[in-house]
């Protein structure tokens, strides 16, 4: 029992500590619909435990505020009418302080509940709630960076924050031979529905790079007019480039002829040797085309993952986000979690600087629409045998 309570408290604390460097104002804005205000993340993760744990299992629990379910429900449509997503940034109330009170109120009630018996059903909800909040920790990172990084003053989140590192081992190719392989989560511990069933796939074989693409390599692609050469791009990508006039990774700025980028430590010249970040699937694909290579599939990635170093960038794959054979949605509101996103999105594998360590497993499947750049994404190239 203590184990669950400890984990609960630790996770909840981590979420709050991520917000510590923020000014109150930073909690409010929603600059684009994909970016939620930090205060919304704080409240939404709390609403999850209130709705699915306290209201279900704690007899005497009285909800903190009758309208919070409406305000902080996101996609769990079964659990009540939701607020339209692009309006979140206009909700100045409840205040940040009230939201912290809400967190405390729910935390106290959860503490009490977990000091008694913990049923299997509760454990199930707790596991999902933990993982859910950890996923929002990751989104918090992205969203905070977006809010600060789009401010003309480029304020630092933390002056000593190190987003970048180098991979200084020699470049090599990891080989996967033609054959059948096992894919998906097996064994104990938590996993998401989208990692199931554990099943077999046939691979034709491939080689995967033991290093990520660097900022310097990507800068060469830009210099080579890669953004202008239609032949590297998907048809939908070209429409996206035309509409957005994007011609570099997110957060890159050319200042007096030199590439700089915004990091959580402020605006800096790019480090050419460090792995690239903040490119969309469209860009990752175009870069690979330019190189005459390709992105690995998620199955190739999972099969070879033990043989290269990963865990600091979400890595683009060439796989669309689809259900595994035998996939079934969990019943009820929780069932909305993953299945409804299985169209128009691409799978990313790995994990990032912003990922909770217990999400860092080689079967974990993250997914994004192919135009998004604001997550901590990278490129690992592959090629046919």
């Amino acid at each position: 029992m203590e184990n669950y309570l400890n984990r609960y408290q630790e996770i909840r604390k981590t979420t709050e500590s991520l917000c510590e460097p923020l000014a109150t104002e930073d909690y409010v804005a929603q600059p684009i619909s994909d970016v939620s205000p930090p205060k919304w993340h704080l409240a939404h993760t709390t609403w999850f435990f209130e709705t699915f744990l306290l209201k279900e299992f704690s007899k005497d629990y009285r909800e903190f505020h009758p309208q919070f379910a409406f305000l902080f429900n996101s996609y769990y449509v079964s659990a009540g009418e939701r607020m339209l997503r692009p309006n979140r940034g206009n909700m100045t109330r409840p205040t940040v302080e009230e939201i912290y009170q809400y967190r405390k109120y729910v935390d106290v009630a959860v503490g009490e509940l977990l000091s008694h018996i913990i049923t299997d059903e509760m454990k199930n909800i707790l596991e999902i709630g933990f993982n859910h909040e950890q996923q929002h920790q990751e989104l918090l990172f992205y969203d905070i960076k977006y809010i600060l990084g789009h401010n003309p003053l480029f304020p630092a989140y933390d002056k000593d924050f190190e987003e970048y590192f180098t991979e200084d081992w020699e470049h090599d190719w990891v080989q996967i031979n033609k054959g059948n392989y096992k894919i998906g989560f097996e064994g104990k511990g938590f996993s998401f529905d989208n990692e199931h069933n554990y099943h077999e796939v046939h691979l034709e074989g491939a080689k995967i790079s033991n290093r990520l693409v660097t900022n310097g390599e990507y800068a060469e692609f830009i210099e080579a007019k890669g953004y202008e050469k239609h032949e590297y791009w998907h048809s939908d990508a070209r429409a996206w480039l035309e509409e957005t006039e994007i011609s570099a990774p997110l957060y890159w700025h050319k200042i007096e002829g030199n590439w700089h980028y915004y990091t959580l430590a402020g605006l800096k010249p790019i480090n050419k040797d460090a792995p690239l970040m903040h490119i969309s699937f469209y860009e990752a694909y175009a870069f690979a085309e330019w190189k005459g290579m390709r992105l690995p599939t998620e199955f190739e990635w999972e099969t070879a993952a033990n043989l290269f170093d990963w865990g600091k960038r979400w890595e683009h794959t060439g796989s669309a986000y689809l259900p595994y054979p035998g996939y079934t949605k969990p019943a009820g509101a929780i069932g909305e979690y993953n299945g409804k996103f299985m169209v128009n999105q691409m799978v990313m594998r790995g994990s990032s600087r912003a990922t909770s360590s217990n999400h860092s497993r080689k079967t974990y499947r993250n997914f994004f629409h192919p135009h998004l750049q604001w997550h901590f994404s990278g490129i690992r190239l592959a090629k046919d045998l």
Copy 2:
């Protein structure tokens, strides 16, 4: 000299006192492009004095921050590149506190400057700056109401705030006879360029109501399906109704069959006897058509203004916002103030609960696009002789 400094300090203090009831979060949001974040108003009015007074007339003045001119310049395009208006709500930095520091810094510098000689040129800028800040006080009222009134929690700005009142005198018509009349500002004291030249107009005569249209009367228009009957509406208004699905004044909500409205004191049942507020020109025109009457022109209004009680609602007129004969824009950046808005907007006359007393003169011309509802607007009917 003291006179100017006193006025400066009083006006600056009034602006800040308007914001006193706000939570820090309320300063940040920009729910629609016409509504600016309160912190932007606080900074923009300060930028005005910094740019046009201090930088021009105070030798040793050092600007507070090199990028604030970019962030807080609005329409004064001559004074430097401006930030795109709909982005203001995403600018979480500078913080509210930093903006108050900015205000203090500029206030100190202005205090020092005004303790020496005040030239006529400076007086001119000061007068415009005072009036400019007072206009923003009025906008602050509207914008604060919009931000709080669109929050699902309907927070009160001030529980004792009285937005509504009744006009309990007997209804009558004020008559204007056919003839030539003098229009525009004449005499001493401050006035805006758009109130000039003082000139003559010919009127065919009219009768103007000595009372404003009430909430009750407008509710009857709604009951009579006034929003659905195309014959009362302009062609552009119908397109607006179709697109927005508007079918009542702003802030009106039907709750269990009864009309309520959001006031700065919270959500309340409507007071049927109180003057109507928050209707667009389109709605004012349609209501008048339904009544078989019309809106007064701004010239009729100005001519008859001494004969009825006004000053708590901006009153819609049937006049488009156009220059008076002989109108000339002032030279330089200040010249952008009014002239560039003289197309596609309708004139409002009077003043409102939110208006500085020194804007309450019968020659003052306010103007809005015909679809806007968020200002404290009302209807006074007129008819031909």
Copy 3:
């Protein structure tokens, strides 16, 4: 009686002769929502006579097709549900031939009706129907030019069509003295409701040019970077320039450094001495600002009209389109004709190459949204005394 029938037949024939140079395909397209397909004009003007004349006054009349009222009703909302305007270009049926059959069918029925008694009520409808069809003749010109002029092949409508001419008299200013003047339609003959009442206005006096602005003068404005200098433009105009990236009159193309324009005779180098055409109100205003002058008001224009030569360009005025004193809408569906457009539009005076001669009267008021360029518009400058 014969008189009415003759006029009917002549006007109907004129409409059709305007379409004679068209290919069947040219009748179908609606490239922007303001431009209607020529076949729609042919059918809509026919629908007018069918609905307001034949169905009302011809006992035995059987409508040509039950759905044509839906397809070819435009803004006469009282007369039944209308088809959404931007969809007109997708209506490939009825075919052009069927629409000519519709015209013939209605023409025969009108011929029969008019061979009997013609009541005053019928005369009233006929007059409006004549003027209505003549207005559509004018729109047909504009729309045909738009459809052909936006085709990459720049097909000629008529190789010998002369759109341009020169005003080779010496430049001079026509003076209007300060005083009261009579405005509006008085006397016999047809006039529109918006030309009434005949009433008095006071003018402060002005000088009006006896020549129109030429293509050459406007080219100088472009060379002087007039489109980029914000100080000449309305605030709404700047937003329009940014959104559309317009930087020249409609139909102007710079080819190898020289301005060309599309005329109904094909693509040609501009004639610098000929009066300018195809500029919006926004552009006309900005040009006048650049010149340090202004546009005349519609009252100045009407007062001075006898003293200068006009009739080949619709001339921009500085007047918003508003009702005259005592204006009342006619009863019924016909009443929708003018009043509902009296917001957000500016008045044009004069007439154009495309105007029926009986619309060429100095009291006639045309009106357009301030961004439109596709009509045969020109600029005549004015200045204060």
Copy 4:
């Protein structure tokens, strides 16, 4: 040689015969960006042979018109600047007759060229050109139906056209056992790049229905409020439903309580026993969810295809459109054909009433964005073992 020329002539004739029932006006419209005007299809397929065959291999060939490459190039960006897709419907010139002249001109030149030697390179282009034109024949069917079916007069394309049929055999399930299977095109004859490489996949096993879903079954889904129950729909699908207000298959209309649909023979009551048509992937997925089943993957479909009757509806699959292992784009402009669409689209298998017989092979992969309804799509359900 004759073989190629015969095939060329036959295919070209088929395209034209599809257009025979059209009025000239029907060739012009582009009601939505996905639907091209029939005259554009006629010209574009001709442009293909002119550009890739005649200009490359016929020494003396003189192009028909210098601007047609600009007007009728679609996605072959390498081959020159293309016209923006949504503008096609405004291009009234060249006329339909001129386009038929263009076809004739090119056909004569091709006839001459093919009467001499035919190199392997030419054969390759010819095969692609034949298949390309046949794909456009299929699109022509869809687009013609869209243009006529969105006309308020619901004109018939051919009064005797039979779109619908019944599958009157007993319902049963075709079983695929767990195991490795061969996928993709192998052997002789033409195939597209996206059918290669021939490769192995592992399947977990499934059952596939031997009948398509009928109109009656889908009507039950509608009655059961399937469009309103969020749990059956993807998240992107819900946004699509909200935006478009779609609540039935394309061309379905409820008239006095009974479902009707537009067929190429006109508006008719639905045939409940006939296979459903005109549903998007989103709807197919939601229907399967409602049934507690799923769509087959494209690999399951291909593996089992010999065991059920197919060929009259394109059948939705649960597979995203992605490259097969070892896929490489052909070099040059031709290489744009398929690869650039391999994101955001779903695979359809089978063929339809509108498909050329030589596209009816079980390895053929068609693909559409998941919201599109205008193709002749159907649903075949599957379930896990």
